[in-house]
Structure formats: C-alpha cells, structure tokens
Symmetry: C3
Subunit: 204 residues, 3 copies
C-alpha cells in the first residue's frame, strides 16, 4: 500500500477518536490520546499478535497525523461533525485499507490464511474498540447493530485469496479494500444486519 | 497437556463468552468476538508477558473451537443456560487446566517460579476479565466475591512445586488442575470468601 | 535510576491501586490485582511497544512491592486515605521517575526521540488508565481535568534532550524527574488546566 493511503486511513480513524473526545468534553490531551489509540490501536494489536515490534512506534507519520487530526477537531469540530456523512465514507475507506494491509502483513509473516484474516479484521476494528473502552463507552463494534466487522472480514478474505493466487502489492490491496469499502457503504445504505441468537430481539 | 484437554478448556471459556453475548443481545459477530477473546485472552496475555508470539494465532483449534461454541450458543442458548450449573463445573475444569498449563509454559521459558505462578493465574482468569471489559461490564473477577483467582493461584503454585521436584508433563498438569478444580468447586459449594480490607463491609 | 527509586515509584502507584480497591470494596485479591497492574501496567505497555519482554516479569521487586502495598492498604487504609495529600506528592514523584525511566529505556532501544517521549508518558500514565478500566471507572487521565500527562510529557522531553546532549544516567533521570514532579505539583497547587476544544464548556 502506498504510504499516502496508509496515512489517509490513520487520519480518518484519528479524527473519529478526536471527535469522540470532543463529544465527551475532554481536554486537548484527552482528545490526542483518543486520536492516537483509535488510529494505531488496531495495528498495534496486530503487530503484537504477529510477534513483531509495533510499527506505530517506528514511524513519524503515526505520531504526527493523529496530532494533526486532533488540531483539526480542536478548532473546527462543528464543521467536521456537520460533514459526518462524508466522514463515515472516509471511515469505510479506512476500514477497507486497514483490513487489506493487516491481512497482508500477517501473511507476509507466515501466519496461516485464517489467522491472517482474523488479524486483518483486528487491524481494521481494534482501534475503535480501544477508543470506546478508553472513553468509558460500551464498544460500538459490539453494541451498535451495524455491519462493521463483516465488511472487514470480506476484505481480509479477498486479500488472503488474492495472496494465495500470487496477486500481491498495490493491485491486491486496492481490490480487497474497495470490496470491503463497497460492502460497508451498502450495509449502511440498506441497513443490513447480522442475525441475533435464536429468539433474541435486540441489543439492550 | 493433551491437546484435547486444552481444546476442552478453550471450548468452555468460549461458551461463557458467547453466552455473555446472548445475554447482552449482541449479534452473532459480537458473540464470536466475546467467545474468542474469553477463550484465548488469558493465554495471549501470558504469551505477551513471557515475550513469545501468542500461540492462539498459530493453531487452527483456537479459531475453530470458539466458532463452534458461538454456533452452539446461537442455536441452543436456552438449553445451555439451563445447564449452567453443569457449565460452571466445566468452567472450573477450564480454570484448573489453564492455570497449570500457563504456569508450565512460563517455567519452560525460564521465568522464576513466583512470576510463573502469576502468569498461570493470568492465563486462567485473563480471558474473563477481557470478556467483561469488552462487553462493558465491571470485571466479575474483581466485583463478584467468589473465589476464582485463589483456586488458580493454588493450582499454579502446585504446578511450580511439582516442576521444581522434576515432576512434569501430563501427571503434573493433571494433579495441579485437579487441585485447583476441587478447591474452586468447594469454594462455590460452601461460599468461601476472601477477606475485605479492615472495616469494609462489601462490594458496591 | 537507582533500583531503590524505581521501587519507590512502584510502591506509590501500587498503593493508589490498592486504595482504589478499598474504595470499590473489593476483597484482598481484587486489591492486589489493582495494585499490581497500576504499578507495572505502564512499564509493561512500554516494553511491549518497544518489543522486549516486560521487565516486570523478570524482577522479584515488581511482584513483592505491590503485595506489600496491598497489605498496608488492607490494614491501614483509613490512615493512608487521611495522608492522601502526602500520597499525591509521592504519586507526583512516581510520575516524574517513570516518565524519565521510560523515555531512557525507549531511547536505549533505538527509538526516535518523539516516540521515546511518547513511551515515557505511557510508562508514567498507563498504569492509572489500566487501574480505572479494570475497576470499571472512566479513566481519570481523560476525565479528570487535572494536568497529569502534560508534566510527564515535559519530563520525557527533558530526558530526550539530555540524552541527545549525552547527559545520561542518574543525573539526567533525576533532573527530568524533578522537572516533571515540580510541574505536576504546581499544576495541582494552582489548578492549571489544558484547553477544551473551541466552544466546549467542560467534561460530562
């Protein structure tokens, strides 16, 4: 994946963390903490689970981009909130990119495809879970009934299949990311849901 | 420990995670997330603290067994809930196995016995804490006044003593596990409690 | 840093964890869990992020000191609570020491200064966040409007600057720690605050 795309994903996720900070009326330090861990949390989990040092603590972009997102949310959060439908589209793009990149990194380190798919999903959804736990909320991933992990699972699976077929690099990443992105957008548009256990009628 | 016993422990813990998901009315994806992290969370913590790559991301069983437990909870959760007293017995068995296995792995990697005991307890109780934090609950381990970490501590200590006496392998694991299991069952049966700080009258 | 200073920091943080356990009316096991993870949680995060085995599971002091702090809180918590203004001063000292030590360790392992500063702050504030998440509270770090991460950031930055100037060892650690300590005490004394996002009026 081009580093630029990677940083775009970091930026969108950091923005969602910083905005959560604003909604919770945290000070600028709390906003930055949420921005950083929302953006890099999933990737850090993936790297620890793979058994390598988290890339987030080697690369300047992973530190600077969340700071920039915090500054933007600090000064212009009403505008960003108003642009939320647009932000959700970027978030779907981040989801797509992160699941593709995370799966590829796990495969590259020799994990079996099913585990690589799992870690791709962790990369994509882990940051949001950490954001919610840190800000004292029940994880949106579990309680919001939207499809969020499922599109990531689809994109990660596509990535693993392409990898097995020896389609790698930019083309594979982009294809898998676009698939996850499209599925996520359709799921939002048409309110697709995953089933509840038999006889259960909705989250409480 | 025979892999079969290991997978049995994973299965029981995964079932407890999936059932928590049903109680919280999560969809099938949320159930699977809780099932997986309840089952492997303690072992992942242990491996990260030992400094090795978590075994959960190398072995297919650790992925398939939680999926099977999720499926069972999805279709038959009322029957499983009704069989809860039985499930608690299996949970005690999982507790016993996990503390023994966790302690042995830490000793095997050269940790000192006190740290190995500590990591054995983490292996046994860590998944439940992660389950509760992810589902937005206060950790049962801390707030429920039952003895849960103490039986694990006993089993882990027994394992470390046997290891020092050069009793290893299946016999040692099973002895330590049975000790922790028995103590846990007795603690439940007779309502044994750990003391509260002087002058304090109960959790709130 | 002299090991004695290090253990003093561990002790103060462990005491804050054990007292939180008393306030939540946890039993002695719950108190010990909070004491341990409050004391070593930040350092464990730092070591995982650096990519080395957490030191806390190699050193007996990291295990014994939290146990001692738990015993003290168990028997004499009313006296300790009454001495809280004093405890807060020790906590500020722990904050200073931990940010300095954490930054130095990260630099020593070849991380770039900005990442080392970040990990110094994690070392200093991470344990408190884990304490709050485990005990089912919203993290004080984010929701309490006191300056806590900012003094750590100042001390970590000082440490990184001194390191770049080849001032290392005891003198550097102590200077950085005293700087963070002093700033933290002044921030408490004068109620200094970090700014909220534009147009936001306070935490909720």
């Amino acid at each position: 994946m081009s580093p630029l795309l990677d940083l775009a994903g970091i930026f969108v996720f950091a923005l969602s963390g910083a905005l959560q900070g604003v909604r919770k009326r945290l000070d600028v330090v709390g906003m930055a903490v949420l921005a950083f861990f929302t953006a890099v949390g999933g990737g850090v989990m993936r790297d620890l689970f793979i058994g390598v040092q988290p890339a987030a603590f080697r690369d300047m972009g992973y530190l600077l981009v969340p700071i920039a997102a915090t500054a933007i949310a600090f000064f212009w959060h009403p505008h960003v909130e108003r642009a939320m439908p647009g932000v959700l589209i970027f978030d779907a793009a981040g989801l797509g990119l992160f699941c593709a990149v995370g799966t590829a990194k796990a495969l590259h380190h020799g994990l079996a495809p099913p585990h690589a798919v799992f870690l791709g999903v962790c990369t994509a959804v882990g940051g949001g879970v950490i954001r919610d736990v840190l800000s004292g909320e029940r994880p949106t991933l579990l309680y919001d009934r939207q499809l969020y992990a499922v599109p990531a699972m689809l994109g990660s699976t596509a990535m693993a299949v392409l990898y097995a077929l020896d389609v790698r690099g930019f083309v594979a990443t982009l294809s898998a990311a676009v698939l996850a992105f499209t599925f996520r957008i359709l799921a939002m548009r048409y309110g697709w849901r995953a089933p509840l256990a038999r006889g259960i009628s909705g989250p409480r």
